[in-house]
Symmetry: C2
Subunit: 309 residues, 2 copies
């Protein structure tokens, strides 16, 4: 039994050390090194190359090293029978929640506008909005979305939530499915996308969607770049449906220097930093599932191929 | 018995209407109009002209129309025997608390830096700091400071406080006086100035003060421009003692277009908007003290001339 780490960002060795520090007797290999492939029962992957997984004949479990599994499900070389899991790190949800709170507050206190005014040496007071007068709508009520919704509610915001299938979260008004979308959007000044990326949600934030939002809605996308049709956002800003946006994720990352988003003062661009895996915390969660796999126990955070999360 | 409103920002009539809407039988005059001066027992002032107060022979009470009274105490024409009061509007403290939270979160999530990177089209992820790992030090533990300290504590920050005389706030480590200042500053990553402006605190944030702070402390001044020696801040940023600042108040407002602060990317300038009086809420508090003055009851929010707040 062994673990293989497959990623293309040069951080594999660092992860190997983090895992072996926690469990020195575990066999951990790095994809591309020379080692007996048939030993491997679990692959830890982050944006792995296509057709890397099928080099491991005894593979039982592929685990994302983060919360997202879209890149695993999109891999045409994903072996049929392997289980898929992901990491639900409480710190990731905590960090996401803090970041979203920072973005929402920055928006209602006009800090983004004051940054632009600074550049022009303008002194121009603008009326702020109070927390209690701000309705935040959270799209996606999974581990991250539910945490963010509850924390914003706790901070005093009016919070509602939308998800594909109906969810019940204490104190949060929830809407579900296409039929619930218009009511949800009517209720929302600030829209936070925390959806999983699936074939159903890919490109969901498009022209048709923006037609349904309240005039002047502020958009925060901290999920995946694939949720947003970027040109449609530019049009929605142009016609005033969307007043501005904080975007942490993009169709292509890093965002190219010629991308039109850079020219927009009312788009705050952050370089995919809302919530970054804490290596030790993630390593211990990955090891727990490796132990469960080895012992034949039920896996944690297993992903349904059909649902996509 | 009558009230006179003295301010120079063209908003006197608007205030008069707000007060008379709440109490239609109250005599309210605007300074500069023609009316019997000896009727006036209470003056409502905001940055009034010098030697305006001594035109009212029967004046008993001067009330600031905001939280600050520095401009009243600095008026050489302030009659000797009149009482002084101010407005302690719970909404002002609430708004201040929200604004400070927005600034602290923006700082620890590097949003100010990302705004600068946006201008340069730079994609440069920076490690964020978590709320629980951030020590915020609040200078000034009056109505505003105490509220901000408790709210930040509630949000999960490590919070300590400093004031001239010792204060006890549940859950907050407090320091007092010159002898407590170094320990307070050792404990602080983010420093929030919410001091009253008095002869003792004027220019307190100066070169000597910045020598005592921890390397890389972030400064937030939402009190008065007079607390900060502006050139000394520039030096402290230059030598790294201060990593950056959010300034809402300045020695001179509006900040002149040639002021060196505009050139600094790591100074976020906001145009004195942290907390703006809500007219109805303030008007009802002012009327309450007018009723108390008229009935001979104890005043609320009376200010000590010797303490300056």
């Amino acid at each position: 039994m062994a673990i293989v780490i497959i990623r293309q960002d040069g951080k594999s060795e660092e992860w190997k050390s983090a895992i072996q520090e926690l469990a020195p007797d575990t066999n951990v290999y790095v994809h591309g090194d020379d080692f007996p492939k048939e030993e491997v029962s679990m692959a830890l992957v982050w944006k792995h190359p296509e057709n890397s997984l099928n080099q491991y004949p005894e593979l039982k479990l592929v685990s994302s090293m983060g919360a997202g599994v879209d890149f695993i499900l999109e891999d045409p070389g994903l072996p049929e029978q392997v289980a898929i899991s992901r990491v639900v790190d409480p710190l990731l949800a905590e960090d996401m929640s803090e970041f979203v709170l920072a973005l929402v507050l920055g928006h209602i206190k006009n800090l983004n506008t004051y940054h632009g005014d600074h550049r022009r040496r303008w002194w121009q007071p603008i009326a702020y909005t109070r927390i209690k007068d701000t309705s935040v709508g959270i799209m996606g009520l999974g581990q991250l979305g539910a945490k963010v919704a509850l924390d914003l509610k706790g901070a005093g915001f009016q919070v509602s939530g939308w998800s594909r299938s109906s969810k019940d979260i204490p104190g949060i008004t929830t809407y579900a499915g296409q039929e619930g979308l218009s009511d949800f959007l009517n209720d929302t000044n600030v829209l936070v996308c925390l959806l999983p990326l699936t074939p159903e949600t890919e490109g969901m934030l498009d022209e048709k969607f923006f037609e349904k939002v309240e005039e002047g809605t502020y958009l925060i996308n901290v999920a995946r770049g694939g949720h947003l049709v970027e040109n449609d956002l530019l049009m929605a800003i142009e016609n005033g449906k969307i007043s501005g946006a904080s975007l942490d994720v993009f169709q292509q990352e890093p965002l190219g220097v010629n991308h039109p988003f850079w020219e927009h003062d009312n788009i705050l661009i952050t370089p995919h930093v809302a919530s970054v895996s804490d290596m030790d915390s993630v390593a211990s969660l990955l090891l727990e599932n490796y132990r469960r796999l080895t012992d034949g126990d039920a896996l944690r955070f297993e992903v349904s191929r059909s649902r996509g999360y």
